[in-house]
């Protein structure tokens, strides 16, 4: 194609077929806990909506470079056969994969020989073991780990000098895992967990006719006669009781953790560093606000896009080399370039601290320094991990 420059000279645009880059969104149709509050809309396209937006962004850039990105959605049934799916993808040369999978299925996928040379971008599993003892060269973690989130919250509590914590956790595995991350943060920041309690009731229905009175009594009972404390930290990823705690707890103490003030990689109130544009584009495309998994999927697809733009290649090996190199940086509305930790392939990123309607702060807090980057004050640092990828 010939294009006229204003000085009359003719510019030759890139010739030949465009570079076609397929990106697979691989998920499993498993039911997820619904938000406890009826006010909170239930998103049925959580994750994939962010991937779609990022594909659009990649293609807007790609049109200037003759690069085309395609999003292929592949959702296996609950407990479905990942091996067959992986073999099909590998045969079709589709090995750039955004994985919306819980940790056990992610492990299974990463270990398949068909996926040995793939790039798997984890947007869901926050499990710390995946970053400390089970690292895989073909897996990049886009979603922050629980330890990163607990540290982000811990730094804020230290800054506020709220050093006496009560920890209340649910009985499901993810709840216990977040509680463990909170314990680790307490140790790191020399906060004191003055008491722990488990909440053992089963999840009820979101909708009841006269639920308010019963909930009030349950939460009061759960939190009475606690030792002196500054904050109540709740670990309830399963959405069973966390949002019931604020204002119903026995002592007049703020609730933080998975309810109240929450550490998250994205929040609808985030408008800094151009965040407004991403929020608006997302809302226009999906008719709802952007959730954390949408943002992780957006980051994952943009990571591939950025690597393809800079390397002019769709080859997973070339992209992998670039993503883990010092040249890679992702601009993702956090005011800092995001990069991957070399030893565990976790995306470094600031963590937002937000209440339901308002951004409160962004960690790392200024006082927490690190010899490499302050972002490495969040989560497991190299000496805390046995992973030594890319060495």
């Amino acid at each position: 194609m010939l294009i006229l420059a204003p000085d009359g000279s003719v510019v030759v645009a890139a010739e030949g077929d465009p570079l076609h880059v397929p990106i697979v969104y691989l998920g499993e149709a498993v039911p997820e806990p619904l938000p406890l509050s009826l006010v909170e809309p239930v998103a049925t396209d959580k994750g994939i909506a962010g991937a779609k937006l990022a594909i659009g962004d990649n293609n807007t850039t790609g049109q200037f470079l003759k690069q085309e990105f395609e999003l292929i959605e592949k959702i296996v049934p609950e407990g479905g056969d990942l091996k067959t799916a992986a073999a099909g993808l590998s045969d079709a040369g589709q090995t750039l994969i955004v994985a919306d999978l819980a940790a056990p299925r992610l492990r299974e996928l990463a270990n398949l020989p068909e996926m040995r040379n793939a790039i798997i971008l984890n947007i869901r599993a926050e499990d710390d073991e995946l970053r400390t003892s089970e690292c895989k060269p073909n897996v990049f973690h886009v979603i922050p780990s629980r330890a990163m989130k607990a540290d982000a919250l811990g730094q804020w509590l230290v800054r506020k000098q709220w050093m006496r914590w009560v920890l209340i956790y649910g009985v499901n595995e993810p709840d216990k895992a977040f509680a463990e991350a909170i314990r680790r943060a307490a140790k790191r920041y020399r906060a004191e967990i003055v008491e722990e309690r488990a909440y053992e009731f089963k999840a009820g229905s979101r909708r009841t006719d006269t639920g308010e009175q019963q909930v009030r009594e349950q939460m009061t009972l759960l939190t009475q006669r606690l030792p002196e404390h500054d904050v109540l930290i709740v670990a309830d990823e399963s959405e069973v009781f966390g949002d019931y705690l604020p204002y119903r707890n026995w002592d007049a103490r703020p609730v933080v953790g998975t309810s109240g003030l929450v550490p998250t990689s994205w929040h609808r109130s985030q408008e800094q560093w151009g965040g407004t544009q991403l929020q608006r584009r997302f809302t226009r495309a999906s008719n709802r606000w952007m959730l954390e998994r949408d943002y992780a999927a957006w980051e994952a697809v943009r990571t591939i896009g950025e690597a393809v733009t800079r390397t002019s290649s769709g080859d997973p090996a070339a992209l992998r080399d670039y993503i883990i190199s010092d040249s890679f940086e992702l601009a993702a509305f956090k005011g800092k370039p995001l990069t991957f930790r070399k030893w565990d392939q976790q995306l470094r990123q600031p963590i937002l601290l937000a209440t339901p309607l308002m951004l409160v702060s962004v960690s790392p807090q200024e006082e927490f320094l690190h010899q490499r980057t302050p972002l490495d004050s969040l989560g497991h640092d190299e000496p805390d991990s046995t992973c030594r990828l890319n060495q």
Binding site: I3, L4, A5, P6, D7, V11, D57, T60, T61, F64, L65, G274, Q277, R280, R281, R302, E306, T309, R310, E329, L330, A331, G335, K336, P337, T373, P374
Partner: protein, 323 residues
């Protein structure tokens, strides 16, 4: 002794001349959060008026006769025209959604507006007050610049990470240059031979040859005691003699001084917090920086390369234009 007195006298003379010539200059500052324009008298060195305008005013520019101020009121989704005599908004112009920055054509007839929200540059015919056309560009268009001969329009797109070169006659992109992450601002050298593009997240300024569209150099910044990831280049201004460039470095709270010929950083000037945009007084003796977090502007003596004054303005100052 006599010699020293002479020197002191001549320095004093030089200073007073610099200030004399800047006199009668008035700066206009858009306050992003305050929804106002601060009017700053550079003789008195103080804010003398605060004018309410539409929501989230950011990019501002003067008409060539300096009687009007065009304002991107981003959240109001239009351009407002402030009459600088009466200090009243006399006209509202369509802009497309979320206008952030714009540039006026050399003949003053056209505004080229970056619509941050929808991947377009809107071409606004100022004589008719209507949108002439929209040019599709990359994701999140922001920086805008026009060549001295009015033939080439530059737009930078923040998520696409490119400087788009647009032919102002055909209104089509004729070339794209990949730069570092989140390019925010573009500025031609006065001779039109180079385009300087700042990358906020990349932390660099790319110097692009306007003829060949090759990147001649990526200028990096290093300030002792300042964390590298807080160095985020935004506004760029080059002196009319084409010798010196000034680059606002965002949360690093510094303005870099760069020798244009060698493309080497010569100095860093400490200004207020989160410095966004810059502008010269008409005689180019003073440079002003808007400091978003500290709600003030810094006044820089260009020849001395010294910050000589901070002047409080409105909430979250963003853009600046001086007449």
């Amino acid at each position: 002794m006599l010699q020293r007195k002479w020197m002191a006298l001549s320095v004093a003379l030089a200073c007073s001349t610099a200030l004399d010539q800047a006199r009668a200059a008035t700066a206009y500052v858009s306050n992003e959060k305050g929804n106002t324009i601060s009017v700053v008298d550079l003789d008195k060195m103080e804010t003398v008026a605060t004018v309410p305008v539409g929501e989230r005013p950011r990019g501002i520019t003067l008409s060539h006769d300096k009687k009007l101020l065009y304002i991107c009121t981003s959240d109001a989704d239009h351009i407002e025209v402030l009459d600088l005599e009466s200090l009243e908004v006399i006209r509202t112009l369509p802009s497309g959604p979320d206008p952030e920055l714009f540039v006026l054509s050399r003949d003053g007839s056209t505004l080229y507006i970056a619509n941050e929200d929808n991947n377009f540059v809107t071409v606004l015919d100022l004589t008719q007050g209507v949108v002439a056309t929209e040019i599709p560009v990359g994701v999140e268009p922001e920086g805008m610049a026009i060549s001295p001969d009015n033939k080439v329009l530059i737009n930078t797109s923040e998520t696409t990470n490119m400087a788009h070169f647009i032919n102002t006659e055909t209104l089509e992109i004729f070339d794209n240059v990949l730069v570092d992450s989140r390019p925010r601002y573009a500025e031609f050298t006065p001779d039109g031979k180079e385009v300087w593009v700042s990358s906020e997240i990349g932390g660099t300024v790319s110097v692009i040859d306007a003829g060949s569209r090759e990147i001649l150099k990526k200028i990096g910044f290093e300030i002792q005691g300042v964390r590298a990831d807080t160095i985020q280049p935004v506004g760029v201004r080059i002196t009319p003699d084409g010798k010196t460039a000034f680059v606002a470095l965002g949360p690093a709270n510094r303005v870099a001084v760069i020798d244009v010929a060698s493309r080497e950083v010569q100095d860093y000037l400490l200004v207020g917090q989160r410095v966004w945009q810059l502008d010269f007084t008409p005689d180019a003796k003073l440079l002003l920086s808007t400091n978003g977090e500290s709600n003030d502007i810094s006044v820089i003596d260009v020849a001395e390369r010294k910050v000589i004054k901070s002047i409080p303005v409105g909430e979250l100052p963003w853009g600046v234009a001086i007449r």
